[in-house]
């Protein structure tokens, strides 16, 4: 029974964006659509427990949700301009695939609308598109449930008040709007990848980012950056099992057991990167995926194609100047040209990254390679690190006398 409930939960979560996407178009707002979806889930539970999951769960849930919405309107005797639309849409159930995809896309673009703050976009996307409960989101982001609930309520209110259009952006507007959607997925992934505090990794967020990324590939199959991001997620996901040692302590890329990287997941990354290249992609996610691919296919840390990585970092910096990117580029400089050149590349960054623990961790590493005393840098990094896994890694380095 437990197992079946889990399966049903998975089905509901998986189908939610498809069903709610259509309902928002019919009912006019996200709240009403979510409520109708919840009612459909309540109706589905006893019926599916007894008779199994229907062959097309999305169609079943859509029909049940529409029936509920229509009954609710009748009860309330609401004479609303939306009512005729609902009846009309009821008849044409097997909708065209493009219409379903457009509904899903409208939902994604609305939840990731730049008029909302990034945190709000993330919470709303996880709630409405990914089908998480506010409690689950709160736990994943280590925030009080009340905060997340308020964030979502405010977001829905902003959408209503500012009349944010429920639509797929026009071609001219698409790159900017898409960047906003990809930023949300990237943030979800990064939160799962390394948390700012507390336990080192939370798989559910990573898996969700992976699922959202794949979903976007199917919805926007000709956008190279979508495939770049998905590829980047896959390469990183492939290393999950090797990111920490048996004591739960962080392992650097150079220390990881590469034979345990997940090969089918790396293949997924390579295939998606291939699609991004074929589509002529050279945006920031594609470039980051290119760098990740160099790591994923290198047999050893030293045997990595550092010259290629350096080239991609140069392109990335030209595209989006960022001190964190410059910091990562310095690693490639160190590996390709030597630690002295690496240190030189760090000089200009200290003022910009004075509160970033990885800056000091990296400078410590370069100094250690040159045989210099690096303990002050490790200590500084330790003071700034928020994550226990990272802190104990740094402590280990200090104890080892570097």
């Amino acid at each position: 029974m437990e197992e079946l409930s889990q399966t049903l939960d998975d089905v509901f979560r998986r189908e939610k964006s498809r069903v709610v996407g259509g309902l928002v178009r019919m009912l006019g707002n996200i709240d009403a659509a979510e409520e109708a979806f919840q009612e459909a889930v309540l109706a589905a539970l006893p019926s599916w427990r007894a008779g199994g999951v229907p062959a097309n769960p999305a169609a079943w849930l859509t029909t049940a949700a529409k029936n509920h919405a229509r009954d609710a309107m009748r009860h309330a005797r609401v004479v609303d301009e939306k009512a005729p639309l609902l009846v009309e849409n009821d008849i044409v159930t097997p909708e065209s695939l493009d219409a379903i995809s457009d509904d899903e896309l409208r939902l994604v673009f609305t939840c990731c609308h730049p008029a909302l703050t990034l945190d709000t976009q993330v919470a709303l996307t996880l709630k409405v598109v990914a089908g998480f409960t506010t409690d689950e989101i709160a736990r994943a982001f280590l925030s009080p449930e009340k905060t997340i609930a308020q964030r979502i309520t405010r977001a829905k209110k902003t959408i209503e008040d500012e009349r944010l259009p429920y639509e797929v952006p026009e071609r001219a507007e698409l790159p900017e709007r898409l960047a906003s959607v990809l930023a949300v997925v990237y943030l979800v992934f990064n939160e799962g990848h390394t948390t700012r505090e507390g336990p080192l990794m939370r798989l559910d967020l990573q898996a969700e980012a992976q699922r959202l990324g794949r979903q976007l590939c199917d919805l926007l199959p000709n956008e190279p950056e979508v495939f770049g991001l998905y590829s980047l997620i896959e390469f990183s996901f492939a290393r999950t099992a090797t990111r920490t040692d048996e004591r739960g302590e962080l392992l650097l890329l150079s220390e990881q057991d590469r034979s345990r990287w997940d090969r089918p997941t790396i293949k997924e990354g390579l295939m998606s990167l291939g699609r991004a290249r074929r589509l002529g992609g050279h945006g920031s996610y594609v470039l980051q995926a290119e760098i990740a691919a160099c790591h994923a296919t290198a047999q050893t840390w030293d045997g990595t194609d550092w010259s290629r990585i350096l080239g991609r970092y140069d392109e990335l910096l030209a595209l989006t100047p960022s001190p964190v990117v410059a910091l990562n580029r310095a690693v490639a400089v160190c590996m390709h040209e030597g630690p002295e050149e690496g240190l030189a590349a760090l000089v200009a960054l200290e003022a910009l990254l004075a509160s970033y623990h990885l800056f000091y961790a990296m400078r410590a590493d370069f100094r250690r390679r040159l045989g210099q005393d690096a303990r002050d840098d490790y200590r500084r990094a330790l003071e700034l690190a928020g994550n226990e896994g990272e802190r104990s890694f740094l402590r280990r380095r200090i104890d080892e006398g570097n």
């Binding site: 062959a55 097309n56 065209s96 695939l97 995809s101 199917d218 926007l220 090969r263 998606s272 047999q299």
Partner: protein, 235 residues
Amino acid sequence: MPQFMVMILENEAEGLKLAPSETQALVEGHSAYEQKLRAGSAFLDGERLRPSSEGRRVSSREGQPRVDAGPFGDKVLSGYYVLEAEGLGAAVKLADECPMLPGAELDVRPLMKGRHQPDKASQQGRVFAYAVLGNAPSEQGWIDVMDRFDESTRERFPADRFLGGLRLLEPGRGRRVAPAGGRRAVFDGPFLESKEVIGGLFFMRMTSLEEAVDWARRSEFVRHGGVEIRELWRS
């Protein structure tokens, strides 16, 4: 000019043995092979199929539709190319350069008819290949099965989902390229072994695997034989 389908039949376990750099070489090898075919004006279509462990076979058993989950054994369709060539010999020669996993085989089969829709990866939704499987003791019997498929399914594909389909001539009209003594050798047909033989491929886009299977269960394909449903890689 005659057209041919080159089907790549691989043991998926061999793919898991590859180091990531070797997988990368294979992925890039396919891009290079496709470019070469295009440069020689021989390329018509080509796709890679996702692992059979994600696939389904839909058939009938005692009049009831039956769905089996993958993986599907050690010779699995992992991709195909459709080429134009002067004749079977020329097609086999082109096929011989196709990159593939160690131990893999290629079936080169003349096309009977059909509609190509290249670049299926650019379509919204999840795109699935349906391999039509027929089982018969003789080649004529197999042709009869495929004719029945053809008649009962013609014009019955939902227009906004259908992404083309190709019917192949009987296996005896093709060639198999297989490893023998450390190199590749060409063998004659027929290949009507005990197992089901692919009679054609068609393509549909769906919202999910469940929907793809549901469509097949209700289709005429289940009445005469079966289909293997496999999602395409977007590459």
